[in-house]
């Protein structure tokens, strides 16, 4: 197995709801509730769920754009340490006690030193190696900045990436180190501009485009610029927050192919947040399904589309219309809407819409456990569902029908 790149342990994010005349807190929106997430180096993780289930919040928490209510975020952690913290955390959430033993305190303080949310020096390193591409390319690019400035901004803030720096700067700077400051600055700007030209040609745009404003581009081109900005400091981890949902299908395919090529070239890790399950199937290696702030299922892409186990995943996958009129399949149609995240149902949060729901579902909350190798589910009846026929409610069933016809 690859090395762990990012590990979030026990992450919670509660947004306060202000109300009344004095503006005091009347309740919380439980956007992300006790989520453990592991992202390995070089992979693409798809994060799917309906709108309002906390996908974007989790994505932002993972690159430290939001402060969590509680939780640890470890960057390239020790395997031992992360195991220990995880174990401790699961024990603590079961026990509900606040008094800790000396060993436990030790572990937490050790983790705290490596934790990105708490340790400022770790934060500095971390911020240089993560980036994000936002959903709406119209509002994520500053309308008053030229494209060359947009792409160069992260470079001026974080410094030129090492290999690029060597290529464009090293020889020239040492030769002119005695010259005045102005000349050196000029050289630096020139180097950055050359670097930007390289990047933008990589994105399928050309050099002329550097001297234009964002409004002169189409949606697909704008998204390319946003990707160029993200990749310009050669990050190790990029969060793609619905990068293609504002685009047409033909352009979506172009963008997804571009992202794939970049991953091959630079070995970036992606977290691909989307509600478009078909794009996840084509793009990612592993899929995490979220429902109301919780992870309900987690597995490799093929497994999750062929053998979804959690009833919610089954419904989600069966709801995607397949662009082929000859394929007909059994729909699992959910009744009702997603409950409000400020007042989530007790126990299993899906029990209000689940067809397998039993009394136990509304009483105790199912924990995420490994049912097969690399396949985690949070459901009380996961094993029963696995044994029964409905486990193949995913794509498998579709191809069967098409063969028999």
């Amino acid at each position: 197995m690859n090395d762990i790149l990012i590990e979030g342990i026990g992450i919670r994010k509660y947004f306060p709801i202000k109300g009344g005349i004095s503006g005091r807190t009347v309740g919380y929106v439980y956007a992300v509730d006790n989520v453990n997430i592991t992202i390995y180096k070089g992979e693409t993780v798809g994060l799917v769920g309906e709108s309002g289930c906390g996908k974007t919040t989790l994505g932002r928490l993972l690159i430290d754009l939001l402060e969590p209510t509680t939780g640890f975020l470890l960057f390239k952690p020790d395997k031992d340490l992360s195991e220990k913290v995880k174990k401790l955390y699961s024990e603590l959430s079961n026990k509900n006690t606040k008094i800790l033993k000396k060993e436990e305190k030790n572990i937490i303080s050790q983790a705290g030193q490596r934790d990105i949310y708490r340790n400022k020096s770790m934060k500095k390193v971390f911020r240089k190696s993560v980036q994000i591409v936002f959903q709406d390319p119209v509002s994520s690019l500053d309308p008053r900045m030229l494209i060359k400035d947009i792409i160069a901004e992260p470079i001026y803030v974080n410094g030129v990436p090492y290999d690029a720096g060597i290529k464009y700067l090293k020889g020239e700077v040492s030769a002119t180190s005695d010259d005045n400051k102005k000349a050196r600055l000029k050289l630096k700007h020139e180097a950055v501009r050359n670097y930007c030209t390289d990047i933008i040609s990589e994105m399928g745009l050309n050099q002329d485009h550097l001297y234009r404003f964002p409004h002169e581009f189409s949606g697909g081109q704008r998204q390319r610029i946003a990707i160029a900005r993200a990749i310009s400091i050669r990050p190790e981890f990029i969060v793609l927050d619905e990068p293609t949902s504002a685009l047409d299908v033909s352009v979506q395919a172009q963008i997804l192919n571009l992202l794939k090529d970049l991953q091959k070239k630079y070995g970036v890790t992606y977290l691909f947040i989307t509600h478009n399950l078909a794009a996840v199937r084509a793009f990612s290696d592993r899929v995490i399904v979220m429902y109301l702030g919780k992870i309900v299922e987690e597995s490799t892409t093929d497994e999750i589309f062929e053998y979804p186990i959690h009833p919610y995943t089954q419904a989600l996958i069966s709801a995607i219309p397949i662009p082929d009129p000859k394929l007909k399949r059994n729909r699992v149609i959910l009744s009702g809407d997603v409950p409000s995240p400020s007042n989530p149902p007790s126990g299993c949060r899906f029990h209000t819409r689940c067809k397998f729901a039993q009394p136990i579902c509304s009483q105790s909350e199912p924990q995420l456990f490994e049912i097969r190798k690399g396949h985690k589910v949070a459901c009380h009846f996961a094993e029963d569902i696995l044994k029964s026929e409905t486990a193949s409610a995913g794509i498998k069933k579709v191809s069967d029908v098409s063969n028999s016809e």
Partner: protein
């Protein structure tokens, strides 16, 4: 099959500062009875403009329908196009609009819209009025277009008043009558939404018929008049002479001029004891129940901001289906919704289409939705229909290079290993569209002729038409 709607050579343009946007250029298609026609295409290809043109909702200025024919039955909706405005082209394009005729046409079109052609809009939140309750908005449509049916029901229920009271006391409907109420009661029982909803329906029927009996003569007169109007409207769609048509339009314009929408909406806001309003509310309750809204009575009394997106879209669907329209135009009905809600909405649309035999024009960019819902598909690109065929043919035997490219570029959940193919480039600017075939700059198979001549629409096989120079065959003239 019977043709319900025929659009031929429709041309819509927008006159803006930068120039003339040729949004639709020679679009022709037919819609048959009980069929679902899907229109697919990328953003900015003119799908929505086609829909708005059919309902004559293009904002004028800047937009204008330049030419074309939209035949609803035997009535041409674009009949007075030349009289409405003149386009003077000297150095700059100038449009002289004839306000009088535009207003006249508007009154007349109010009779057509909502009753014969209705529309589901893309964003349900924007389609509903935030200051009226859901109930008021449904009741308004019924009030404007469905008077005859409502009056008939009240009239017959007033005859069976004592039996209805008996049913309510028994809390059960034990037998049905042979007239309009009987049918309505049958519908209510077969919808099977529980005893509570049946009791509510009975309560409202009893109340409205009691009020009806107080002023029977007035409503009797109203009924006779509205039946007359309905007959005239029906006549308009059938084959009649030009003079007769003009006369009917005159009468209808006069009738609809009398209707004061502000007065009606004020009336709705106050709780007047009008049997028509009570009957319309009952009908609204039934409509919401028919689109599977749980707890429909509570939803009726709520404002749009209190409901979720899926719920609002259901309300919009129930409004658009309230008068059993001939043609329903669904403009991206599920784009703003999640997949699970989308599945619910599509299920509802499918069932309603099966039961009411409405013809639907389904506009979307999601080929999955098209594959599931539609019988025939028209693929649009930059204001032209490039290919139209049965759904099977489009997906398994596509001819036009654009259709092929579009189908290859969608990621599919049942096809994991395939790398996505792309259509290079993006949609052209329609102020200066490419000469000849509008797809030629992006087409992998383009040759010289494509840049010079606009390809004619050719029938490749039965019911499968393509506009591309690669194919040869019989040209299709849509005027036939």
């Amino acid at each position: 099959m019977e043709k319900v709607l025929t659009v031929s050579n429709l041309k819509t343009q927008f006159f803006i500062y930068e120039g003339v946007v040729k949004a639709i250029d020679d679009v022709s298609f037919t819609l048959r009875k009980g069929e679902v026609l899907g229109i697919v295409g990328e953003t900015g290809c003119g799908k929505s403009v086609t829909a708005y043109s059919i309902t004559r909702l293009i904002p004028d200025p800047p937009g204008r329908i330049i030419s074309g024919k939209i035949m609803l039955g035997n009535l041409n909706l674009l009949k007075n196009l030349d009289k409405e405005a003149k386009i003077i082209q000297k150095k700059r394009i100038k449009i002289v609009r004839n306000r009088k005729i535009i207003r006249k046409n508007d009154y007349f079109l109010n009779r057509i819209r909502g009753k014969y052609i209705s529309m589901i809009f893309q964003e349900p939140m924007a389609a509903l009025n935030p200051v009226y309750t859901v109930e008021d908005q449904i009741v308004e449509t019924l009030f404007l277009h469905n008077l005859t049916k409502m009056l008939k029901i009240i009239k017959s229920s007033s005859k069976h008043l004592s039996e209805l009271v008996k049913f309510r006391d028994q809390k059960e409907i034990s037998y049905f009558f042979d007239d309009d109420v009987g049918e309505e009661l049958k519908k209510i029982v077969s919808a099977n939404k529980g005893q509570e909803s049946i009791l509510k329906h009975l309560d409202m029927l009893i109340e409205s018929s009691k009020l009806y009996l107080k002023k029977e003569a007035k409503y009797e007169k109203m009924l006779i008049k509205s039946i007359e109007n309905d007959k005239i409207e029906e006549k308009l769609l059938s084959n009649i002479s030009q003079e007769e048509e003009d006369q009917i339009i005159k009468i209808l314009t006069k009738e609809s001029k009398k209707i004061n929408l502000i007065k009606i909406s004020k009336k709705l806001k106050r709780n007047t004891r009008d049997p028509l309003i009570i009957e319309a509310r009952r009908e609204a309750l039934f409509l919401l129940e028919s689109v599977n809204i749980p707890n429909a009575y509570r939803v009726l009394k709520s404002y749009p901001h209190e409901l979720s997106g899926g719920m609002l879209q259901r309300v919009v669907i129930s409004i658009s289906l309230s008068n059993n329209p001939y043609v329903l135009i669904a403009d991206e009905p599920t784009t703003a919704l999640d997949v699970t809600v989308q599945a619910q909405i599509l299920e509802i649309l499918k069932n309603l289409q099966k039961n009411n035999k409405t013809s639907i024009i389904l506009i979307t960019h999601d080929l999955g939705v098209i594959a599931e819902m539609s019988d025939r598909v028209a693929v649009m690109y930059a204001g032209n229909i490039v290919e139209s065929a049965s759904t099977d043919d489009i997906f398994h035997n596509p001819k036009h290079p654009y259709t092929i490219g579009l189908l290859q570029s969608i990621p599919r959940i049942d096809n994991p290993d395939k790398k996505l193919k792309t259509v290079p480039g993006s949609v052209p600017n329609l102020i200066n569209p490419p000469s000849g075939c509008r797809f030629n700059p992006r087409c992998p198979l383009a040759f010289d002729k494509c840049k010079l001549e606009k390809p004619p629409t050719i029938e490749v096989s039965d019911g499968h038409t393509v506009a591309c120079h690669l194919f040869s065959g019989k040209e299709v003239y849509n005027d036939e």
